[in-house]
């Protein structure tokens, strides 16, 4: 039974990865059709690095992802600390609102924000309101829940006595936060920030509705590209991003592994001392 399950799991992984492997192969193809491999070439990568518009779009995406995840992390962590100290009813109302962008389909979030901006634009008589500002606002909005939902559990796990001890030893609440609380919830903050960053970098649907012609991100432009016969340098870009993300994930994995090993050995030492 276990063997059958193993084979099945391998098949599912193949199913998940075949399209990506195809795109990677296509990036080394001198022809334009994914289905026909003509001959091996690195030309697409050369074309990619000569294409200043694509690189500018990648820069736009990175700017939005860094800014929105930073702002969302700061605002969201502060909010999580605030919500944590609230009473049950107030807390559940706010967590309910936090869940709205998570349960609502992205297209509805995108449309609702586009309509809001159109409405404001109409009131203020600004024609081209969609652009960098609206994109940043939208990304911060859908990033915030990820930060809060990652930080809240860490706050719950934290021993409340730690903060009390810091306060008793003469810390102001602000000092107590920066000297004690923040270290306890740091893993939550980091994973929230990382999730927000990747969500923002890869977001297409919401960006598509709230972006104007002035400031476009990479996924939105990729969508425009896929309407026309696609240029193979996009495959080269995909393959590079795949390699970068794979490397980052493996590194993170190794770091976590080292971390948990370290924890295990210190625990063992503590045990030995006893």
């Amino acid at each position: 039974m276990r063997k059958v399950n193993k084979i099945f799991t391998i098949l599912v992984f193949i199913f998940l990865y075949i399209p990506m492997i195809l795109l990677a192969i296509a990036s080394f193809n001198s022809g334009t059709d994914i289905a026909v491999f003509k001959e091996f070439t690195l030309r697409q990568y050369g074309n990619l690095f000569r294409d200043s518009t694509l690189l500018a779009l990648l820069r736009n995406s990175l700017i939005i992802a860094v800014l929105s995840s930073l702002i969302a992390t700061v605002m969201g962590t502060a909010a999580a600390v605030g919500i944590h100290s609230m009473g049950g009813r107030m807390r559940s109302v706010i967590m309910g609102v936090t869940n709205i962008p998570m349960t609502n389909p992205e297209i509805v979030t995108g449309v609702s924000m586009a309509l809001l901006f159109a409405f404001i634009g109409h009131l203020l008589k600004i024609n081209a309101i969609l652009g960098f500002g609206t994109l940043l606002i939208a990304h911060i909005t859908f990033n915030l829940p990820y930060v809060i939902l990652n930080v809240m559990p860490k706050l719950k796990q934290m021993d409340p006595d730690l903060k009390e001890a810091a306060l008793d030893l003469g810390c102001t609440p602000v000092q107590a936060f920066f000297k004690v609380v923040i270290h306890e919830v740091m893993p939550g903050i980091l994973s929230g920030a990382l999730m927000a960053f990747t969500m923002s970098l890869d977001d297409f649907i919401i960006s598509y509705f709230v972006t104007g012609s002035g400031f476009i991100t990479l996924p939105v432009e990729i969508y425009n590209y896929t309407k026309k016969p696609i240029q193979p340098k996009i495959y080269a870009l995909f393959t590079l991003m795949f390699a970068v993300i794979l490397t980052l994930m493996v590194l993170m994995n190794l770091l976590q592994l080292r971390d948990s090993k370290k924890k295990a050995t210190t625990q063992r030492k503590d045990f030995m001392k006893r």
Binding site: R2, N5, F8, V12, F15, L16, I18, P19, M20, L22, L23, D33, I34, A35, M75, G76, A78, A79, A80, V81, G82, S85, I94, V97, T103, N104, P105, E106, I107, V108, V111, S112, M113, L115, L116, A118, I137, I140, T141, L144, I148, P153, P173, M195, T198, D202, F204, Y208, F209, P219, Y223, I234, F238, M241, I245, L246, M249, N253, Q256, L257
Partner: protein, 272 residues
């Protein structure tokens, strides 16, 4: 007392950019395209889109069911491996979620087309070309492919938390492996099933790219219609009305599913 104030910027932000926009959707849904006066015409129009709504629901329900059937054994297998392997495999599940779904879907076009890779392979054996693309099946395949990780991860995160001692206890009390699964593992994984289904169903029912690339004019989904109201035939009021109906529909579906799961929503949360 003071620390509550820390959440003030967030609360203001969410009111301005989550609640108010939903209010604006309401406003547009009930406003006339030209005059801006109150009207029920946009919502009354929804009747003509009933087949599209039904098709969206049925295709995404089918995709959710297939994801569950495929994802469950995979999640179970991952949860049974060593912790190091678990970490590596769940990373492999997460990785596609970080890659452009537009291009990954486009790769399926290259696979399924009449002159695509699969049909070329088949023609070597004298079969085909089979109509693999531009039909409901292709759209469901695209949904399953795109959203399968969203099913596997919550299932896995629930299964991995199941207390080993419960399983051992069941074995000690004379359960065989099938009974252990039916009486212990499956009931305890229900929260993961619920959150997995809603994480697949919600994006699937509102998608527009998958149906644009893998479907045909006969497989238009709600998302396609909404998208075209904002990007093509500009009628934001009709688009708002459709978004409103879509939102209510999802609200009902997720509500029904959570009812089955008796509020275990936090269990299946996906965190890195």
């Amino acid at each position: 007392m003071k620390s509550k104030l820390l959440s003030a910027p967030y609360i203001v932000w969410m009111i301005l950019f989550t609640l108010v926009p939903l209010g604006v959707v309401f406003y547009y849904a009930f406003a006339d395209v030209n005059t801006g006066q109150f009207t029920m015409a946009n919502l009354a129009n929804m009747g003509t889109y009933t087949p599209i709504f039904l098709r969206s629901i049925w295709l995404s329900l089918a995709a959710s069911a297939i994801c569950l059937v495929i994802g469950y054994p995979v999640a179970y297998y991952i949860s049974q491996t060593k912790p190091t392997t678990q970490r590596f495999l769940s990373m492999l599940i997460m990785l596609p979620m970080c890659m452009s779904f537009l291009l990954r879907t486009l790769a399926w076009v290259a696979l399924l087309e009449d002159t695509g890779i699969i049909n070329r392979l088949l023609s070597n054996f004298g079969i085909g070309p089979l109509p693999l693309i531009r039909n409901n099946g292709a759209v469901i395949l695209g949904m399953v492919y795109n959203y399968l990780p969203y099913m596997i991860l919550p299932l896995y995160s629930v299964m991995v938390k199941i207390d080993r001692r419960l399983i051992e206890a069941a074995q000690d009390l004379g359960c065989n492996s099938r009974q252990v699964f039916g009486k212990v593992i499956f009931p305890l994984s229900v929260p993961g099933i619920i959150s997995g289904i809603s994480m697949v169903f919600v994006p699937a029912v509102s998608t527009f790219y998958i149906s644009q690339k893998l479907g045909s004019t006969g497989t238009t989904l709600i998302g396609d219609v909404i998208e075209s109201q904002f990007k093509g035939a500009y009628n934001p009021n009709l688009g708002a009305a459709m978004s409103l109906v879509l939102m209510v529909l999802i609200f009902i579906c997720v509500g029904i599913m959570n009812h089955f799961g008796e509020d275990n929503s936090e269990e299946g949360m996906v965190t890195i």
